[in-house]
């Protein structure tokens, strides 16, 4: 058996545990070790990506117990792409944390960072609903601690809301899991794809309740309206490197929607076909509009960056909510782009705030920045990427979403919301940029902020480089996204790869009960 699929789970687990014990190491040794660990994870993710790029699905049965009875890890194109994405963002944000923030390069922070990655990568890899819950909890516990790191009053307040909301979310998740297990007798994704269409009409309403409860949970994780109000304040209060990594966290919720609904509750699911469709599209459109208005209303750059995440989740879920092959393809392309763009935005905003000694990230008139030209160009490129202006990848992503929705009955509404929200975000970001970089006083001769170190600049530059690569190799990126879309629209490949030939028939298990 190929053991590569377990590496993205084992590597952060071991690295994080070693870092917890590394009290006697020098800070430099700790930094080097953490960076080596995330680069190793990126390398493992890239190898998985290369393996599954042409279509094979890797199935890793833990302990050799065959599915659907054992626990499986499954790597298909979607999971591999997200693993690589998480690896890239993790490398950049850890580099930034190490290069810039003294408070975030402490020993415990580095260990928590690894555990956060363990949760994220585990959630991408898992092949069943219950382990999705377990990895959600792992990533949440780590994220609470990372969010709290530094323990300012702002962070404690934001974390309190996030923790309470997510604990209620976990309770709903378990209720959904129990309902689905109670009627289907399985939690394995592939097995659910076979069991759900075969449900009797007496059991179907229970499974529908479970499916919609899960949708509430995924909506909470991905900050879909009306469950997304916690996000801007929490992300705005977090340290920059943490906020950049959190850009991946909301996408875990989107990934869960993409994984569960097309597979188990897709058009082939009999009485439960397309349960999520009626809810997801209106909520996604509302999130899109609300996120854009939030960017406009924000009075500091960090909060604006938080609303940008909400806005991008809205556009992303509009594409997902089409539940068509083209919609999935657009969603996966835009998902990669928007994660990179929001992560870069958090890092750039932090650089800008550090350079304005008096005003920080508030949108006020302040002394001219000592390195305004350099950071201004970073901000300009990032803002253009976020707003979806050509020639960057946000534009391609938007066009893909518009194209995928053109045949939809609500196409007019979708087009006008997407384009209108994009316009509002452009206005908001250009207003923020001109307030910070142009409407300035002449320097009053106080202490000048030192020039950001090369490593700190390299982190956002690397992410922006990836965004540029997404356009430069746009042809193959789009072709890959379309292949993912095909996989999601025709789940038979995934199901056959996991269950293979010699699995127990559902009837055998019914008899067990």
């Amino acid at each position: 058996m190929n053991h590569l699929p377990i590496v993205p789970i084992l590597l952060p687990l071991i690295a994080g545990s070693v870092l917890l014990l590394s009290t006697k190491w020098s800070p430099n040794a700790r930094h080097a070790f953490s960076l080596a660990a995330v680069v190793g994870q990126l390398a493992a993710a890239s190898m998985l990506f290369v393996t599954v790029r042409e279509g094979p699905v890797l199935v890793y049965a833990l302990g050799g117990w065959a599915p659907p009875f054992g626990i499986v890890l499954v790597v298909d194109r979607l999971a591999a792409a997200l693993l690589v994405l998480a690896g890239i963002v993790a490398c950049a944000s850890l580099l930034y944390a190490v290069a810039r923030d003294t408070e975030t390069s402490a020993q415990r922070f580095l260990a928590l960072f690894q555990f956060q990655l363990l949760g994220i990568q585990g959630a991408f890899l898992t092949g069943d609903l219950f382990n999705l819950f377990v990895f959600f909890e792992v990533l949440l516990i780590a994220s609470y601690a990372l969010l709290l790191h530094g323990l300012t009053a702002d962070r404690v307040k934001a974390a309190l809301h996030v923790v309470v909301l997510n604990l209620i979310g976990s309770a709903l998740f378990l209720l959904g899991v129990a309902l689905i297990y109670g009627v289907a007798g399985t939690l394995n994704f592939a097995d659910l794809a076979r069991a759900i269409p075969a449900l009797t009409s007496a059991d179907a309403p229970l499974a529908r309740t479970g499916a919609l409860l899960l949708l509430v949970v995924f909506a909470l994780k991905s900050a879909l309206l009306p469950l997304g109000f916690w996000l801007p304040r929490a992300y705005g209060a977090a340290a920059a490197a943490v906020a950049a990594l959190f850009a991946v966290l909301t996408k875990v919720g989107v990934y869960a929607v993409l994984r569960v609904y097309p597979l188990a509750f897709g058009p082939q699911a009999g009485e439960l076909a397309n349960v999520a469709e009626a809810w997801l599209l209106p909520l996604a459109l509302a999130t899109l509009a609300f996120g854009a208005l939030g960017v406009l209303a924000a009075r500091s750059l960090r909060i604006a960056a938080g609303w940008v995440v909400v806005y991008s989740v809205g556009s992303l879920l509009v594409a997902v909510a089409l539940f068509t092959e083209g919609g999935y393809a657009a969603a996966i392309y835009y998902l990669v782009h928007s994660t990179l763009a929001s992560a870069a935005l958090f890092l750039v905003v932090d650089l800008v705030a550090g350079d304005r000694t008096s005003a920080g990230d508030r949108l006020d008139t302040a002394d001219a920045m000592p390195h305004g030209a350099l950071l201004g160009s970073f901000f300009f490129i990032t803002a253009a990427a976020v707003a979806g202006l050509p020639p960057l990848s946000g534009f391609v992503g938007k066009v893909l979403i518009l194209d995928a929705s053109s045949g939809h009955p609500a196409a007019a509404l979708i087009w006008s919301s997407l384009l209108g929200a994009a316009l509002v975000v452009i206005v908001a970001l250009s207003r923020a940029g001109s307030a910070v970089f142009w409407r300035t006083l002449s320097p009053s001769g106080g202490a000048r902020a030192p020039r950001p170190s090369l490593a700190a600049l390299a982190a956002p530059a690397a992410i922006l480089g990836c965004i540029a690569a997404l356009v430069a190799w746009g042809g193959s990126a789009t072709a890959f996204a379309q292949a993912v879309g095909r996989d999601l629209a025709k789940p038979a490949v995934y199901v056959d790869a996991v269950l293979g030939g010699g699995h127990a028939q559902p009837d055998d298990r019914r008899r067990l009960r």
Binding site: E137, Y144, H161, V163, I168, L174, V177, A178
Partner: protein, 108 residues
């Protein structure tokens, strides 16, 4: 027995919701704990309630409990325990950092 079980879950949940809406950290914490009890019972019941039977399975037994929900509940209890501990620490921290036990910080 199903009715008793359902009433117990319902009572726990309604108490939990009431406490969660109190907007003070300690009642919220108790509410979350009660909610997790209710959820654990619910999860346990998803394997069907079986009386007067072997705890797991036995040779030649016709009806026996489904072991998977038991394993799921065990995992959920452990995770819930860790989360409660974190929440206690966080609530104490919030009182020190914001000067009150309101969930929005401070004394309202």
């Amino acid at each position: 027995m199903e009715a008793l079980f359902a009433i117990a879950i319902g009572t726990l949940t309604s108490c939990a919701v009431y406490l969660l809406l109190r907007a003070r950290t300690y009642p919220v914490l108790l509410g979350l704990t009660l909610l997790s009890y209710a959820v654990n019972l619910f999860l346990f019941a998803s394997g069907r309630l079986v009386m007067a039977s072997a705890p797991l399975t036995d040779q030649g037994l016709e009806r026996f409990p489904d072991p998977i929900p038991q394993a799921l509940v065990l995992t959920a209890i452990v995770i819930g325990f860790g989360m409660t501990a974190l929440m206690v620490v966080l609530a104490l921290r919030a009182i020190h950092a914001t000067g009150g036990d309101h969930v929005d910080g401070g004394e309202r």
